[in-house]
Symmetry: C2
Subunit: 252 residues, 2 copies
DNA sequence: GTGTTTATCGTCAAGCAGACGACTATGATC
DNA sequence: GATCATAGTCGTCTGCTTGACGATAAACAC
């Protein structure tokens, strides 16, 4: 059977981004306000069409840079901290997920430290970091009492999947360091785990665990006191990507 | 900005299947022989175009049924064994992955017990179960001394990703039972782990572990002697999907 | 100095994992 | 039928990890 362009239905392919960070002890995601129908005025995940000559990961990295200014981490330079962590999450292709046409969206998950301020095409009012519980609270009310509309399209599902991926992945990988600046303390790393998992961890056992896991942390020699209290040692992420033994999420 | 069909490039969207089973102590994958260019005559993963009105998981289930006769497991009936396990794996969209046109493939992973014989459109010579090491052995020689051509397209990468997913997922989930018939013995389950991981496990510690993990196995009361030796108790898969504590893959 | 905060080290008991001995129940072989 | 081989099942022991928590250290605020 020769190649017949009419033999398959045409699809639009997009990438959507779940960009997570930890701000003020809460796991937050980047949301942008839609400027056009459908779902005009509603919050959504950042994303856009994949271009004709682009790989999926390239498209995701481009969108991430456009929305946040973050460069994606180059997997070829693992030891070096040259940007945010970016990985493919899952693909969503319900025929009715976009009322305009048949769109298949390849969602990606990005983890970033707190630093950057949102910038959606230069217009800051159309992009914000929002706590994920707030974004996922369907039909509830935000911290300011305003009613919260659910995210556009199936983005609530995508965000929930991304959060779940992040929660489970910091158990057995060193990914939690992607939420930290280049140099960080054990306490800062612990607060990342606490924010992502939504639990309190024992500082003493946590310290013993992470410093005892080979390849997880390497001391830089410096110390800091930016948290108040006794100065803490500074660390960088070690070469290990898989943690053995893994971090254990406390019982549900 | 109104909807403009020319604003995005059209893609073809396919599903490809990594169907794994355990045969004769080896992890095997379903391969089909391509009957048309490109890669005519080469082995490939089964798959096909997503139809215009189909969800991705529906398309994957349809292809699985067409190629193997297996029904996909309905997630709404978790305790019941009504088919093979099927889950989305990852999406592959390199612009050059198909020389004919821009194709994005949403790969799925299926795990099945040994029973079914391949049937690719009724022609058995164009479908076979092949050990995954053989399919992934680039440019080597098969067990029969024949030279082995690498899989078509990027299917070697997809298969490798699927195998890795299966290897890690049987650690912390009860998915290994998807490789077993409805009723099975602890020894049969152990041989699944040994085949998928490619290691030897201590029968005594394995027995203690799986029978001690709550929700993993439920005894049916029957026994069997089909393996020779002392009769073994028969079990069904329990309700648990996540294993706590997980099975531990021995050191590399 | 005193109190507060955070970091870090130590101790102890419970539980789990790996190594491996021992026993059991079947079929195969002589 | 005795013996052997095979596979399944139960125990034991030892070392390591974990979770709970006491104790000490080093900063800052007053």
């Amino acid at each position: 059977m020769p190649y017949d362009p009419s033999a398959f239905p045409p699809f639009a392919v997009t990438v959507d981004l779940v960009v997570l960070t930890v701000r003020r002890h809460a796991l937050c995601a980047l949301a942008v306000r839609r400027g056009e129908p459908p779902f005009q005025g509603r919050w959504a995940l950042p994303g856009g069409f994949v271009r004709a000559d682009e790989d999926l990961s390239q498209a995701a990295a481009r969108e991430l840079a456009e929305e946040t200014g973050l460069r994606a981490h180059d997997p070829a330079v693992p030891a070096q901290d040259n940007g945010a962590h970016l990985e493919q999450l899952a693909t969503y292709g319900d025929p009715k997920r976009d009322p305009r046409m048949r769109v298949v969206s390849v969602a990606h998950l990005a983890l970033a430290p707190d630093l950057p301020a949102p910038r959606a095409g230069g217009d800051a009012s159309n992009a914000r970091w929002a706590p994920v519980d707030e974004l996922l609270k369907q039909g509830g009310y935000g911290r300011d009492g305003e009613p919260v509309a659910p995210l556009a399209f199936d983005h609530a599902q995508i965000l929930a999947d991304g959060v779940e991926r992040a929660r489970s992945k910091i158990e057995y990988s060193s990914l939690a360091t992607a939420f930290c600046p280049t140099e960080f303390t054990v306490g800062e790393l612990r607060r990342v785990y606490e924010a992502v998992w939504g639990v309190a961890l024992d500082p003493r056992n946590f310290h013993r665990k992470v410093t005892g896991t080979p390849g997880f942390l390497v001391p830089t020699g410096g110390t800091t006191t930016r948290q108040g209290g006794r100065p803490a040692q500074l660390f960088r992420a070690g070469g290990a990507t898989l943690l053995n033994p893994p971090m254990l999420r406390p019982e549900v």
